[in-house]
């Protein structure tokens, strides 16, 4: 971690905005592009001020075309630029999946590793915000499942800044999913100036001995609440994965070895979600450390519901606590 030591109290959205300012200042080949990122500063104001500071060629309001954004980003890389692309919402990245899967994740490989594609794709993700259809998806599986692409999902303002900076500096494509539920409501201390949180390192958000709750993004604060709720009964560790690829397997296995009990919490639909991957790793490498089955608390295998029903769909404090208790009683 490189930082200058001074801290500022920022919201998660402000921390991301800070990272973009610092990184565009640092490298004049870096540019931001996306729908409404310039004049409006992004619908969540994450790119606010960039157009004024760096001009309309380095904070670009693009046509409304996600495949176009991801596809031109590939070409911009070939021309020596370092694009940071915004997808306006999780589900609106889907038209761009074609370019992401067929080119963004494969082009370096296709050049025999000779050419770099340092594309960052960032987007707000997740539910709990009472929005119309297709504004509350958790699409991380599609991205982690795409070879050649790295994925980071911060859960705190400091990590939001540091992981976005790492993504921008990374020589490979990185998708950063930002928990929109906490954009404005979560505040925290964030190092000023350059601040990089390396990809591939998990964070122990809470130390404990009896059971590990594993999560990333907006499920981390939920797991911390669950740890509080269980305080009288068990000592709960909360492991924030924060980098899905590269994955910090050592941290996962170390925590499993310590507590012997693992509950994985994920907002996305269950089948083939990232929790399934983590559970498979535990089955392969930690079976003798485990004192009970690996449990998952996830969204369901249905489209994200109308928002009046979203609290039933989303992993809740009750569901997480229930899973932890079942495991402790196993």
């Amino acid at each position: 971690m490189f930082s200058e030591g001074r801290l500022a109290e920022l919201t998660l959205a402000e921390a991301l905005n800070d990272a973009l300012h610092v990184e565009l200042e640092r490298d004049e080949r870096t540019l931001v592009m996306g729908e409404d990122v310039g004049r409006a500063g992004g619908v969540f104001r994450v790119t606010a001020g960039l157009r004024d500071r760096f001009g309309p060629d380095r904070c670009v309001d693009t046509p409304l075309a996600e495949a176009g954004i991801m596809g031109t980003a590939v070409g911009l890389c070939m021309a020596g630029w370092r694009p940071v692309c915004e997808m306006q919402y999780d589900a609106f990245s889907y038209p761009g999946l074609d370019q992401l899967i067929t080119h963004v994740g494969r082009y370096r490989w296709r050049t025999g590793g000779r050419m770099e594609f340092p594309i960052t794709v960032r987007m707000p993700y997740g539910g709990g915000v009472k929005a119309p259809e297709l504004h509350e998806d958790s699409p991380e599986t599609y991205y982690v499942h795409t070879p050649g692409v790295k994925v980071a999902i911060p859960s705190t303002p400091a990590d939001a800044k540091g992981l976005l900076a790492a993504a921008i500096r990374d020589p490979d494509p990185v998708v950063v999913l930002e928990p929109k539920l906490h954009y404005r409501t979560m505040r925290g201390e964030v190092p000023e100036g350059e601040h990089v949180v390396p990809l591939g390192r998990a964070r122990v958000a809470r130390e404990g001995d009896d059971v590990t709750l594993v999560a990333y993004g907006s499920m981390v604060p939920l797991c911390e609440q669950a740890a509080d709720a269980l305080a009288g009964e068990a000592s709960v560790e909360v492991l924030d994965i924060r980098s899905l690829r590269p994955l910090d397997e050592d941290a996962l296995l170390a925590s499993a070895a310590k507590t012997g009990r693992v509950v994985i919490v994920q907002e996305a639909p269950r089948t083939l979600g990232f929790a399934a991957e983590l559970a498979a790793i535990l089955a392969e490498k930690a079976i003798l450390d485990l004192r009970g089955p690996v449990l998952r608390v996830t969204g369901y295998d249905v489209p994200f519901p109308f928002w009046k029903l979203e609290d039933y769909y989303l992993p809740s404090l009750e569901r997480v606590v229930d899973a932890a208790r079942r495991l402790l009683a196993f």
């Binding site: 075309a65 609106f92 038209p95 119309p132 259809e133 295998d301 489209p303 009046k308 029903l309 009750e318």
Partner: protein, 358 residues
């Protein structure tokens, strides 16, 4: 196939300005039809204005305002028959009202309540489409399918100026051209896609010019002139029914309201221009036209507005009286025969909901 010419550049207009520009006339529209059109305009306007209030009162969620877009919606629907299919975007969320859909249904959609779903076949109105332009191929497919069956139905897809930048728009339009599908592509050119102006969306001189590339006619109408929209859509529908294939209709208007209730346009929009455009808004222009024609007076206006207001009063009351949806609804409807795991999930959820944390 008829020769395709470059799009008409001039905006078609029928309604004059009550001053130097004279009123035109649309053939075949009698007094009753003219007043019915007005009724629809007022209904949409009332729905929209009430919704903004309901949002402020916390009775509906985020809402996409369509103020000054009523003319292109009502004009187009009135030019079609009830057998023709409508594919709306979020900007046309209430267009089903013109096909007899209860206001409570649309309000429920914006309230995040599953009573906001409907069966498209009940009204020949597709679901409200949220991802930009992705419904354009659906409309092309519906039109193509009807053509294969030899049915006279046409389809109309509503989408914005920004939508023309999406791949799905291009693919849908191209399919319609190739299949000679009876489709009307109604582009709501309100000149903004949230904060992105049309000039950042396309280098084409007009959006209707795009029609040339798909081998279909393109026309431009004043989108705030309900009669001009009516006439252009009627012509397009007649051509489509006669086997002449799709038409691109660019309805030019101006977004005088925020993109949606969550948006603050002051950062990017020219507020003076908005004031100018508000002064020429579409309901008032048609109101003036009908009065000059002598078919509308204060009493009738009052009556029509009263009816619309009453429909909304009843609609919101009905929507608010619906019970909160049961958790079982989360697991329904995605499959004809849900995978067994979903039933287990529901049982587990009920068990946890029934317990307490303590």
């Amino acid at each position: 196939m008829a020769q395709v010419l470059p799009a008409e550049r001039d905006l078609r207009r029928v309604i004059g300005d009550g001053d130097g520009v004279p009123d035109g006339e649309v053939e075949g529209l009698d007094e009753q039809a003219l007043v019915d059109l007005y009724r629809s305009l007022v209904l949409l306007r009332t729905y929209d204005e009430r919704s903004v209030v309901y949002h402020r009162q916390g009775r509906i969620g985020t809402y996409a305002i369509f103020w000054n877009h009523e003319a292109m919606q009502a004009g187009a629907v009135h030019a079609l028959s009830d057998d023709d299919w409508i594919f709306p975007s979020y900007r046309e969320s209430a267009i089903g009202l013109l096909r007899g859909m209860p206001a409570a249904t649309v309000l429920s959609w914006w309230r995040g309540h599953p009573a906001g779903w409907w069966n498209p076949a009940d009204y020949n109105v597709g679901s409200i489409c949220v991802p930009i332009a992705t419904h354009v191929p659906h409309a092309a497919g519906l039109a193509w399918g009807k053509k294969l069956d030899g049915e006279p139905s046409v389809a109309i897809a509503f989408f914005g100026d920004g939508a023309t930048s999406e791949g799905a728009f291009h693919e849908g339009a191209n399919f319609a051209g190739v299949m000679s599908a009876p489709l009307i592509l109604l582009c709501n050119n309100n000149q903004w896609a949230i904060s992105t102006p049309l000039s950042a969306q396309t280098a084409a001189e007009t959006l209707a010019d795009k029609a040339v590339g798909y081998g279909m006619p393109g026309v431009r109408v004043d989108g705030a002139d309900v009669l001009a929209v009516y006439e252009a859509v009627r012509e397009a529908a007649e051509r489509a029914r006669a086997g002449g294939g799709p038409t691109f209709v660019e309805a030019v208007t101006y977004r005088c309201a925020p993109h949606a209730t969550a948006d603050d346009p002051r950062a990017y929009i020219d507020l003076e221009r908005v004031e100018e455009e508000r002064a020429r808004e579409c309901v008032g222009r048609y109101d003036g036209y009908l009065r000059r024609l002598g078919v509308l007076d204060d009493a009738l206006t009052e009556e029509i507005r009263g009816e619309a207001a009453e429909m909304l009063r009843r609609g919101i009351a009905e929507a608010e009286s619906l019970p909160e949806p049961d958790p079982a609804v989360v697991f329904e409807w995605a499959y004809a025969e849900p995978p067994p795991a979903l039933a287990h999930d529901l049982a587990e959820l009920r068990r946890v909901l029934g317990g307490s944390l303590g």
